[in-house]
Symmetry: C2
Subunit: 475 residues, 2 copies
């Protein structure tokens, strides 16, 4: 700019367009100037390695990434999650064994486990009869005689602590389009429950009743009714104010009405059947443990596609949050679990909260849950915020996804399909992180749920995954 132009510029009225620090614009306005602030951040938050990875990937790859992602999208959209039955984990979950405890999230050693996960492990050991007291269970867990493994390494998922032990009953959900299966325990309800790290006698007794009565009843009723088409049911509940992660009142209602005509026919004491139906009616989260394996077998069908940078796993163990990419099978990319911003039950506050935990973010990974919050405005009474926030969350997720779901539609968005199939490049480039809504566990073992809210995953997990993806595929 030459001096004349500079003079001319400053002789007229100055109107500034400000990028970067918002305070620059604010200062100008305070001084009587005119300025507008443009929301802008550099790609990948200015992270040099991530920018280099993005550049390298756009310069050229050894495989056709767009075609690979299109195949991942095709498989996700073509998936047909279907509840085919209930089994015992040891009988149906690949690799399950008496000395093995599955947990939520990426791998984690006992010494690094958070309070609620430790609590759930203690409860799992007590439930299996491997120890008689909590102290004994804790010693056993620390002894090295118990093996720990992520649910995700066994085609399984678990909400919150996500603890699955060998004699627990599990839902079997099959992806009818591709034949793969996913497994999940049955939901225990809210309050003092194993998945929130509680392990008192009432927790263990409830789990025993679920295995001895509830699961057989549901299994027999399901056999009479026939398989449950979860794709159709999830599509329906999105029209009924659910989003399939933290609001499941409609889904639970539909499962009850579909099974009740068959439960009533079972050759069991009426009081047993009534107790089972009353338990379902009292637990609106029951459906969560069906949306989760439905989502799991859906995104699993898109895993292992050479050259695809679609995210096929997101999961947290309360210590770390981790993701896996379709084109980098078997590799976890992790960062510290986030602090949940939410609403607390009476008597609890942020100081009581454990960090973000659970495999339930598999719902978001598949395009429902937080990604479908616009379908569930009433969820803000549970996780905080306003109905407009819920809509904004969904709208933002279209920025980081590769497709819109053709089956899962949001009435309030004129039946637009939910944002589906997260492209890690878009997450890193825009800095828009996947929206996750979640329950909050108490940070100490043995207590349970204290609230629910929204949480941000750690950005570095996505950057590290992108960099590794570029290392493998960029030319």
């Amino acid at each position: 700019m030459n001096a004349d132009k500079v003079l001319k510029l400053f002789s007229g009225e100055l109107r500034a367009v400000n990028e970067g620090l918002e305070s620059f614009a604010e200062n100008l306005i305070q001084e009587g100037g005119k300025a507008i602030h443009v929301e802008w951040r550099p790609p990948a938050g200015g992270d040099a390695k991530a920018i280099a990875a993005l550049d390298a990937l756009s310069a050229g790859c050894s495989v056709d990434v767009e075609a690979a992602n299109a195949e991942a999208v095709r498989r996700i959209l073509a998936s047909k999650p279907t509840v085919v039955g209930i089994g015992i984990a040891a009988d149906v979950v690949p690799g399950m064994a008496k000395d093995l405890i599955l947990h939520a999230g990426p791998p984690v050693r006992w010494e690094n486990m958070c309070g609620p996960l430790r609590g759930a492990v203690i409860g799992g050991i007590l439930y299996e009869g491997l120890a008689a007291t909590a102290a004994e269970a804790e010693a056993l867990a620390a002894s090295g005689k118990i093996r720990f493994d992520p649910c995700h390494h066994h085609n399984a998922v678990g909400p919150m602590a996500g603890v699955m032990t060998s004699s627990m009953p599990v839902w079997i959900v099959e992806n009818k389009a591709f034949g793969n299966r996913a497994y999940c325990t049955l939901n225990e309800g809210l309050g003092k429950v194993l998945r929130y790290g509680a392990y008192s006698a009432e927790v263990i007794e409830r789990l025993r009743w679920m295995a001895s009565e509830l699961a057989p009843i549901l299994s027999e009723a399901l056999a009479l009714r026939g398989e449950l088409d979860m794709k159709t049911i999830i599509a329906q509940v999105l029209q009924m104010g659910d989003e399939g992660h933290n609001r499941n009142r409609a889904g639970t209602s539909i499962v009850i009405r579909e099974l009740a005509p068959h439960i009533v026919l079972l050759d069991r004491p009426k009081a047993q059947l009534s107790k089972a139906l009353a338990f379902l009616n009292a637990n609106d989260h029951f459906f969560l443990n069906l949306t989760m394996p439905s989502a799991k077998c859906t995104v699993d069908a898109a895993a292992g596609i050479e050259g695809s940078c679609i995210i096929t796993t997101m999961a947290r163990n309360g210590t770390e949050f981790g993701i896996r990419l379709s084109g980098l099978p078997g590799r976890w990319f992790t960062g510290p679990s986030g602090v949940v911003d939410g609403l607390y039950l009476p008597g609890f506050g942020p100081n009581d909260a454990a960090r973000d935990i659970g495999d339930s973010v598999i719902t978001e990974t598949s395009g429902i849950g937080g990604f479908a919050m616009a379908a569930a405005p009433a969820i803000v009474k549970f996780v905080g915020g306003s109905p407009k926030d819920a809509i904004d969350v969904t709208l933002r997720m279209y920025e980081i996804t590769a497709a819109e779901n053709d089956a899962y539609q949001i009435p309030a968005l004129d039946f637009r399909g939910t944002p589906t199939a997260i492209d890690v490049r878009k997450v890193v480039e825009t800095g828009i992180l996947p929206a996750i809504n979640t329950g909050i566990a108490h940070k100490e073992p043995g207590i349970g749920m204290v609230g629910a809210g929204l949480v941000k995953p750690p950005e570095n997990a996505f950057r590290d995954a992108l960099i590794a993806f570029a290392e493998k595929y960029a030319q």
Copy 2:
């Protein structure tokens, strides 16, 4: 305007603001001019008598109309509709008798009844065993030996044809705040059903099964469970995509999940219980026959308040649409039933449609149904339009109502209460008619449902009511 000003006006660029006929603005724009059209119509559509009535009422009344309306609003909002049981019409509905057939809407004689109402009357006579064939039933109906009366004259309501005969089972809904009760038959499902004017053997057999098995099962289960708090349930279903008139999937689900744990305990053959539960599961409109008497006992509590111009009844018999005002008890104001604008089932079209029929508009009268369409965007798949239309319908209804419901809230409107308590003055002054969504019956007797949509009530019914109100109360 003097000549100078006129010259000045026309020497510059002309930009017109157009009121009245929109074509004036269109002509200007076609000629290259600039014009905007302002949506405007004179108060009361320019009707001189209605304007005079509005003027007279604002000049002064013999009673405090605002206080009377406030009392009507207070009673509507304080109402606590509660399902207390099931009875046989002859035993519980005031004035019910073997030779009496109740029907929807304002009074109508046999010779003026529309096709579907005649069909339902024929079916009702066959169901009661008063005739052996449809021809005999028709002759009996025309003979004068059968009395006809509106449901509304017997604390009852009925969807579509709304036919209730003496031996039919009915829901008993009590307004716990005021002690008054309302009655409604049990919903038969969709397709070929009595309320849509069908009367074939399958229709009558289903009604017999409902009386002999379904109603006793529900009645016994209800006795075990205890009363159903409809106010709480309706508040919930508005968070689940229902509006309580033509979308009732959530409400039906909640009734099933609340009753199933008790149905399973009944001392009856399992197959009977299973059939009852399967029937409920197959019929998403089952809940309609519970929202209707809930709405009825709610607005009935506000009827008969000296000086109140709140509408406490809207109802249609397929020939006429009628309303009643709180401050003019016992008087109907009617106009011709409207033609429904909607979606048709395959094989049917507008030429097959009967005119607007049914007491189900009691839901709108109480502030749900069409007035709560913003809570049920998915309903547009049933009645037509877009989700935005559904929101606009609700927003428009705030213009003609006196209150916002404190219990019934709409998540998509940031939990704003539904527009409640229609003030006939506002309807007449603005020309905004109550929004009604409805099913469409075939115009011939014996066929059944052919579609669903939205319908406008006749404006003159509201004007006539206002004029009568002014005659009684204006000084």
